[in-house]
Amino acid sequence: MKNLKPLFFLMLIGFLNSCSDLEEEPFSFLSPAQFYSTSDDAEAALTAAYGSLANSGIYGRSLWMLSDYSADQMFPKPVVGRELLTIFAYDATFDQIGAFWNESYQGINNANQVIAYVPDIIMNTTRKDQIIAEAKFLRALYYFNLVRNFGDVPLKLTPTQDLSEANSPKSSEQEIYDQIVTDLTEAEVVLTNGIASVKGRVTKGAASGLLAKVYLYKEDWNNASLKAEEVITSGVYELTESVVDLWNVDLEDENYNENIFAVEFSRNANLETQDYTSFFGPTGSAPIFSAAAWGSSFAYDSFYESYNDDDDRKGLMQTSFTNASGQVFNQENDPNLLDRVIINKFADPKAIGGRNENNFPILRYADVLLIYAEASAQASGGPTIASYNAINEVRNRASLENLTPGLGLQAFVDAVLQERSWELAFEADRWYDLTRTNTFLEVSNVTNSWFPNRPVQSRHEKFPIPENEVISNPNLEQNPPW
C-alpha cells in the first residue's frame, strides 16, 4: 500500500477546497450590512429616493397617463390599452395603475432607508440633516400622489427589512395627509432657501409650495394661502417672462426661477432620460418634436378651442406640421391628425432617438400663484386684491387681460380652476383639480371621433388598488367602489 501515498495527497487537495463554508460571496452588488456607513452612502441612498420619480411608473409615464388621459385635455392613440383610461374601461389589473403603485412605494422605501439609516452615519451634520429633510420631502410627494389617486393607502414609514413586514393595512386619507404635512413641515425648516445651487435638488420653496398645495387639497384654505404667500413673499421665484421661453427645452437651466421643482431628464447617454416627449410628435414628424415621433398623445380640439386666440399658451399646441421634406400635414390632409391637436409643450428637436431632455414640472411658481389666488379667496370668503394680483400675474404673462374684477367667490374660484387648466395643461394636474372639486363627471362631455363615448362614473374618482396588492396583502381591502 506504500505506493498509494500520493493518492492521499490528492484526496487532501480535494477536501481542502471544500473546507470553507458555503456562504455566497457577493462581488457585484452590495449587501445592506456593508452599506449606509459613509456620507457617500447617504448621498447614493438619497439619489435613489429621487430616482424613483423619473421611473416610467411615475413621472416617466404612468402618473401623467393615469391623470391626463382621464381628464379633458389630452387623449392617447387608441393602442396598447392606454385608451382604457380615456374610456374608463380599466380595472384593478390595469398595468399603469400597478406600475404607479409599486414604483411609488419603491420610492417611499428608498426614502425610508435614508430616514432610518442616515442618522447613524458619522458625517457633516448640516448635510446630514438636509439629506434627511430631502428624503422627507420626497416621501411626502410620493404619498401625496398616492393619496390623490387612491385615497386610503398603506402608510409605511420604516424600511421593509423582511417578508414579515410586507403586509401593511390601509391608513385613512386623513392619516396620510397628516403625515405628509408633518414630513413637509419638518423638511421646510431644514432645507435652504433660494434656488437650488445643485440643479434638481429640493429646496425650502419646494417644501413650502408643496405644503400649500397639500393644504389646498385638504381645503385648509388658511394654511394653503399662508404657505403660498410665504413662497411668493420669499422673493426667490418669479414667472419666466415668455411662455415660449419657459417651455424652450434649451432654456431649462434659466427657468429654475419659475420651475421650483421638476423631475430632471436628459437626452444625453448615461443620464436619466424620458421618452414621453416622443408621444407628442405625430408619425412622420421627426425630428421636429423628437427624434422618435410615435403620435401617441394629442389634445382635444375642444381644449384647444377653449383658449383665447391671444393666449400665448395656445401656441403650445398646433394643428399642422411641416415635415423635413417640406410637406404640410394638417387635420384635413392627414388622417393621423383628424380631430387631433399636436402638443408641442414638451418638444425636444435635439432628442437622440427616444431620449429626450425635457424635465417634467412638479411645482411651478405659476401653480403657487394660482394656489394662492384660490385659497386666499376661499379663506376670505371672496377674492382679495392679492387674489386678483396672483391670477392676473399668470394671465398677463400669457398676454391675457386681467380677469374681470368684482367676481363673487364661486365665479372667481371657477376662473382660477379654468386658469389652472390652461396654465398647467398636460402637467398631470387637471384630473386632480376635477376630482377634488368633484366635477370629474363632466369629462363625459369631452369627446371626439376617436373617443365618442366616455362613460365616466362616480367610482372613477379614485383608481382601484392594484390587483396584485389586493391578492397578496391579506390586511388590505380593495377600494369599496371597485
Binding site: M1, N3, L4, L10, M11, G14, N17, L22, E24, P26, F27, S28, F29, L30, S31, F35, D41, E43, A45, T47, A48, A49, S52, N55, V79, V80, D95, G98, Y105, Q106, N109, N110, K156, P159, T160, Q161, D162, L163, A166, V198, K199, G200, E264, S266, N268, A269, L271, E272, G284, A286, A293, A324, D334, N336, G353, P452, N468, E469, I471, S472
Partner: protein, 1015 residues
Amino acid sequence: MRKTLMILLFGFWITSTINAQNKQITGKVQDDSGPLPGVSIVVKGTTTGTTTDFDGNYEISVTGSNSVLVVSYIGYKTTEVQVGNRTNIDFLLQVDVDQLDEVVVVGYGSVKKSDLTGSVSSVSSKELTQTPISSLDQGLQGRAAGVQITQNSGAPGGATSIVIRGGNSLSTSNEPLYVVDGLPIAAGGSAQGSTGLLNGAGGSFNPLATLNPNDVESIEILKDASATSIYGARGANGVVLITTKKGREGRISINYNSYSGLQEVTKTLGLLKSSDYLELSNQVNPGQFDGLNIVETDWQDEIFRTAPIQNHQLSFSGGNDKSLYSFSVDYFDQEGIVINSDFERISTRLNLESKLSEVFKLGTNINYNYSVNNGTISGTTGETDQEGVVSSALSAPPILPAYDENGNTTFFGDFNPVLDLRSNPVALANVLNSNTSTRFLGNAYIEAKIFEGFTYRASFGVDMFHDRRDSYIGQSVPLGRNNSGIAGIGNVNQNSTIHESILNYQKNFGEAHNLSLTGVFSTQNFVGQSSLASGSQLTTDLLLNNELSLAAAQVIDSNKESWRLDSWTARANYILLDKYLFTFTGRADGSTRFGENNKWGFFPSAAFAWKIKNENFLLNNNTVSDLKLRLSYGITGNANIPLYRSLSRLSSGINYNFDNSVNIGVSPNAIANPDIKWERTAQLDIGLDIGLWNERVSITTDYYKKNTSDLLTSTIIPGSSGFSTVFGNFGEISNTGFELGISANVLNKGLSWRINGNFSINRNEVITIDGETDEVIPTGDGGVGAFANASILRVGEPVGSFFGYINDGIWQTTDDIANSHMPNAVPGDVRYLDFNGDGAFTAADRTIIGDPNPDFIFGINNTFNFKGVDFSFFFQGVQGNDLFFQRRMKLEDATSPSNQLDVVVNRWRPGNESDRYVRATGSGRLLQSSNFIEDGSFIRLKNITLGYSFNPDFSEWISSLRIYSSLNNIWTITNYSGFDPELNTTGVNNVTNFGVDRDPYPRAKSYLIGLQVSF
C-alpha cells in the same frame, strides 16, 4: 466498442507466451449471406491488425502458433481463434443478438446494459452525425424517446432547447446537465451586446456548439430517478453523458471524414407586391408615396442565399498494451442562408491513457475549441425600429430599392420620413454582430487498483470558456443613424474547476450475489466575469468597434459571480441470482446558491429490476429472448437557481440627474429569502425491456410520473412593501408520460434492413403556482406595438398555454355593432368573442386559446445495407402542438407602411366583405387572438443518405473508403403557415413564450456529399 477494448486488455493479461516465428495467415470472413468487408482482425496483445477487403479476404502476419486472432465487426459477435498450425483460417461471424452485453455509461461508472435498473437512452456517434450538425444537441433530435429537442431557429450555431420528459421548471433552466467525459459543463453563455442589439435568445449562440460532434463516441441520456439521482441537485432535468472517442489497442488508425454541400431556404412567405402594397398604402394614407420611383423588390430574395457548408476532420488513434491515444482536429464552416450569417469552428481533442504499473493508470482528455459566429440580429419585441433581419424583410416596403446607384444600401427614411424607423433588411443583415468563443475542456485523472475489485480514481477537471461579442450598428440603419453609431465589445470569462474522488468496489459472493459500491466526493467551483464596453455617437462608421474612444457617449458595465457545489455520493448495486437487481443511490449536495436555512439537500433513489427472462419458465422460450421489468423511484433537484437570490441586495440603477450629470443611486432591489433551495422532483418510473426472436426486435417502454414541487418562481408580494415580488420555492407541476423505443432487424440476410423508432407522450399540468394566485396572466404591451407575452400559467392547465381573445370574424355592418359588446367598432374591424358574456368587451374576455405542448413526438430511422451500398432515411415528427404566429399579427393588420402577407389583398372593404381579413386602417393593431394560433404538427424527412463503401483492394494503404450523399430537411409535412413549424423564438428556457413565432430564421434544407477514408 468499450467491450472490444476490455477484451483486448483482458487478452493482454492472459497471453503469456510469445513465439518468435513469423508466419502469414490468410482467410475469408463472412456471415450467412456472404463475405464481410471491413472486418477488423487483430493479433491479440499486439498492435498488429488488418481489415478484410471487399471480398472478405484478409492477410495477417503472426509471430507463432500461440497467437490468437480476434475478429470483430460491429453488429457481430467477436470471435477469437488460436492460430495453431493453420495458415488459412476462415471465419463465419454470427450476428450479435446479445446486444444486451453492451456497456452503458452511467454516472460515475458504467454497467452492462442488461444490468441497468434505470431508464437510459443511448445514441451512437453514427446516429448523432448522420445529419450535418453544428452542435451535438441538434444531432439528438428524434433519436431518443422522451427527449424533445427544438432548434430555436435555423441560424448557424443557433441555440436549441432540450427538454427531457417534460419541463420541470418555470423560472430556471429546463436544460439537462451535460457531462463530458465525467466533467459537468458549467460554463457557457453569450457575451452581452451593445445597446440596441436584442439578445433574442432564439437567435443567440449556443455554448454546446463549441463541442465537435464528430469527437463523440456515444451519448447516454439518463432519464429516471434511478439514473439521475446520482447527480443530486442537478439531476432533475435529466443528464446527458457525452463520451468522446478513445484510442484502441492496435496499429495506428488514421481517419479522414469530410462533407460539403449547399443549403437553401425551405420556404418563403407570400407578400404584397408593389402594386398591391401601394393600393393599401393609398387607402391608409392617400398619396403617401406619390412621386417616388417605384421598384419591385423581393426582400426575401435580397437576404436569403444559397449557402455552402463543409466539415473536415482528421483523426489518429491507436495504442498498445501500455498506452492508448486518440487525437483529432476538425474544421466546420457553415454559411447561413441569411446573408452575413455564418458559423465557423476549429476544434482539437486529445485523449490519452497510460498504464504506469499494475496499480496505477493515468489519463487525460483535452479539448480545445475556437468558434466564430456571425449572427443576424433577431428582433423579438415587435417594435418597428427593433425588427430583426428576417422580420424586417417581411415588413419592408417592396416599392423601395435595396441599393442606391452607388451600390450602397438605401436608407428608407430618405424616401419618406414615415419610414424613419424602418431598417433596410440588407443593411440590417450587414450589421456587425459576432461572437468569438474559445473553450478549453480538460480533465486529468489517476486511477489506482488498491486491491482486486477496489479502485480509487481522482480526477481534476477544468472548463474554461471565453466569449467575445463584437458589435457595430452603423449609420445605415435607423438605430445607428439616430445614435450616430453604436459600438460594443462584450466579454464573458467563465472558469469552472472540479475535483472528484471516486471509489469503486465490486465483488461476487459466490454464484448468487454480485455487489458493487460506488462512493464519490466532488467539489466544483465556478467563477464568471462579464464586461461590456459600448458607446454611441461616434464620429465615423469606418473604425467599427475597434476604437471605442471615438464614442461621445460611453457605457461600461461589469459583473462577477461565483458558486460552489460540494457533494457526497454513494451508490450500491446488488444483483441476486442474475435475476433480481437492486440499486440504491444517495447524494448530498451543498451549494452556495441555496439560502442559509437550506444549505444541504439530500437526494435518494431506489430501483429494482427483475430479469424475468432468467426465470426458469422463460429460459428456454425461443420467442422471448429478453424480458426485464424495471421500477424506480427517487428524488432529484434542480439547483439552477439564479445566483445570490437568497440574499437581500442593494444595487445601483435608480439614478438621478443633479446639475445635468448622473448621480448613482443605491437602493434595495431584492428582499431576502433565506429559505431558497433546489426544486424538488420526485419521479416514479416503470419500465419494461422486451427482446423477441433472438433480439431481432427489441422494445423498451417506460411510464413515468414526475412531480416537481418547491418550484422556483417569483411570487407577488404587496407592492406597498417597496418590493413587488420575492423569489422563492412556491410552485408545483407534474409531468406524466409514456415512452416507447423499438429497434428491429427486419431483414438481415444479404440485404439488411434495420428500423429504429421512438415515440413519446408527455402530459404536463400546473398544480400550484405560488399558493396565492390561480393564474399568472401574461404581461407585456410595454411599448407601442410591442408583442405581449403569450402564455398563461393557470392551475390545472399545461405550462405555456396561450392566452388571448377568441376571434369571431369581422364586423360587417353598423347595425351589428350597435348594441353589441364592442360599440366602438367599425365595420371591417375584428369581432372578438364576448367570452364571459357580460355584454362588454374587456380584458376579461381572454381565455386559453392554445397549447404548445405536443400530443406526442416521434422519430423513425430506416437503414438498409446491401453489399457495399448503404441507404437510410430518418423521419422526425411532432404532433398536436399549437404555435402562436405572433409575427403574423403585424403581417395582416392591413396597415401601412409595413408590408403585408399577400392574402391581405382580400381584406374587408365595402363590396368585398371579408370575414377573415380586417379593413385597412392607419393604426391597425390586432389583439392576441385565436386567429394567430396554428397547428404546429409536422413530420419532417430530416435525412436521406445514400452511401457506397468501395472495395479497398485497389490501394495498399487505404483500409476503408466510403462516399455518400445526403439530403436534409428536404420534405416537411405541416399546415403551419410560417417558415417552419419548429421554432422557439424567444429563447431556450422560456416557458412563458414557448412556441411563439416572432422573428423566425427559416430552416435550411441541404444537399451534401461526403467522403470517409481510413488508412
